[in-house]
Amino acid sequence: MKRETLDVKRQVWMASLFLFVAVLSQPWMPVYAQYDGQTKKTLPPPQDVRAFDTPSDGGGSLTVVWAPAPYDSAATKYQILLSDGATVADPAAMKVVAEFPANQHYVRESKWPWWTRPATGDQHQFTLRNGRGVELKDGIVYSITVAAVLSDDRGIAQPVQATAQPNWMNWNQINNLLLALLFGGIVFYAISTARKREIFLRRIPGLDAVDEAIGRATELGKPILYLTGAHDMSDPSTIAAAVILGRVAKRTAAYETELLVPHRDPITMAVCQEITKQAYLEAGKPDLYKDDSNFFITSDQFSYTAAVDGIMLRKKPAANFFMGAYFAEALLLTETGASTGAIQIAGTDSDHQLPFFVTTCDYTLIGEELYAASAYLSREPVQVGTLRGQDIGKALILGVLGVGTILATLGVLLDAQWPQLFLDVFKDVK
């Protein structure tokens, strides 16, 4: 028994010794670095390096992607190396154009939407652009590579070639284009529907206030002052103001009340003159129409304001209408009007002046109530249809906001990427 135990022990020792030698002889044991000139090659170079022209841009840019590595950390750095031409004699001599910690610059952090992403989210990516010390010309072949650096160690991947080119389409913003086309389609559809049948519009409460103000001015025998705002006829608020002027002019014609409409823009004045003339014609009082009821003062903000304030203090109109876009002059106008005891109705989409109008006017049409009021009054299919189209657009946006919030929350809670498929569709990629 004792002899057999001794034999077993000798066999175990022999086996252990054999195993130890076998392990030591394996080539994957990096006991000491191998030197190539001055650089240690212990750090494996980045893998799967690909370089290509940055898509959807105006040229002068290249993008590099490469696989993540086990040594990705703040201590390790990646360097992007660039040189002209297709052949590279010594990759180590290439110019370093960028350097950053190895735990940065992932595809998932970039702003690319899912339909243009060049690689999976876990891959590294870096975009080189012409300028700021980097020269990248279109049509010229460049060699580009990535090096990993840790202390004195440096691993350089095999250089790859790429050529920058300008592109004809920005595919990152295709969602923007499709949504714009969708909204345009909705507006056209709504306008064509409005041409075929009547679309219901709820009565805007501010319009009752307009009628009341005109009635009060007539009772007092004082004029009505109507302002169309600071912008020109290309602004939706000025167009809405001009339409409401038509209604006011029709009433003033019927009641034979004086109408004063000072303007800041000559073209707006010309348009409003036509509208007022037409209104007087429709009211059956063409002889009462006065050409200079619409008059041009100046386009300068405060000069105009001073002139209108003077008109308010001298003529003391019983009703003041402030329709359109306004800036700092809003409070100057409305407070002066309030001091004369006039009834004041405002309608504006200038949200920064809304607090002043709300506090100083008897009634205020806020934002789109102004557009809605003009559509309600004119009943033109184009105006009504546009309003409906905008309402549908807003309903869609509301729906997207609701669904998007739920999906984004789910994505965070479940640490999932799939909600991004929906969210990216409504993202504006810069």
Binding site: Q301, F327, A328
Partner: protein, 281 residues
């Protein structure tokens, strides 16, 4: 007329007098209360602090003399900060009526900080077109401004070396009093040419720019005289904004007291009317 009714219909000139005194007295006898820095102003300050020497800083003074009290101190503080950091300052304006004022402030601060025109800074002046100027600068700065405000050719100027267009600008700030202003610089500038953008504006416009701030479209916002005072505090150089804060404090407090008094009289009048109607019934 009851006392409450008389007080509610008080002559506006008495209110004007109160406000006038509240503005004037603190300017004559300043108090100097500490000013808390808001994150939006700190956003602008920190970004300029982070810029290395020689970075290109574009300052667009898009306001006229009407907005001078609020935006002039902002411009002075930003220029002092930029010159102290030895940034290359490119100043300009999109408002024709503000050109003289913009030239004065840039020249004044540059002289104070010992900076040389053409070498450390340039004032490009005004060019017609508003937002079209921004687009043109985005393509070719020298095309939009072939010469500076003093008529010197911009091409070859040391301060503009290496700058071809807006893409080469490291940081741009628009001090806007209206349109064109901060929004125009974002829509036609940053959206296309991808430079970092900050904003300064009058107090009344500031709330309207918070959506841009919250979404990261601008990285900071200096709002009104308060914002200018915060910036003066950050750079450690007191100016008209800090001096004006005492007056603004007194005025705000006066308005609040007036509003409270007005509401007290209003409720007193309503109670009297209710009591009268009850006794009448």
């Amino acid at each position: 007329m009851t006392f409450a009714e008389r007080m509610l219909k008080i002559d506006r000139r008495i209110i004007f007098l109160v406000i006038g005194l509240c503005t004037l007295l603190p300017l004559l006898y300043p108090v100097g209360l500490p000013i808390k820095i808001s994150p939006e102003v700190r956003g602008v300050y920190d970004y300029i602090e982070s810029l290395p020497e020689g970075s290109v800083f574009l300052l667009s003074l898009d306001f006229d003399p009407a907005s001078k009290p609020e935006l002039h101190p902002q411009a002075i503080s930003l220029l002092r900060h930029a010159f102290r950091k030895n940034l290359r300052v490119v100043a300009m304006t999109l408002w024709v009526s503000g050109t003289g004022m913009a030239d004065q402030v840039v020249t004044q601060v540059a002289r104070e900080m010992g900076k040389e025109s053409g070498k450390d800074y340039v004032f490009l002046g005004w060019s017609p077109g508003g937002t079209a100027v921004i687009i043109n600068m985005g393509q070719d700065l020298y095309g939009a401004f072939p010469a500076d405000y003093n008529g010197k050719p911009t091409k070859g100027m040391p301060v503009l070396q290496g700058i071809a267009n807006l893409r080469d600008v490291n940081y741009a700030i628009s001090l806007g009093a209206g349109n064109p202003g901060v929004e125009a610089w974002y829509v036609f500038g940053k959206d296309k040419y991808k430079f970092e953008l900050g904003g300064g504006c009058t107090g009344v416009m500031a709330p309207g720019l918070y959506p841009l701030l919250r979404s990261g479209q601008i990285n900071g916002l200096i709002g009104g005289l308060r914002g200018a005072a915060e910036y003066e505090t950050l750079i450690g150089q007191k100016g008209k904004a800090i001096a004006g804060m005492d007056a603004q404090s007194a005025t705000h407090l006066a308005i609040i007291v007036l509003v409270i008094i007005c509401n007290l009289f209003y409720f007193s009048m309503r109670r009297q009317a209710t009591q009268q109607s009850r006794s009448g019934a």
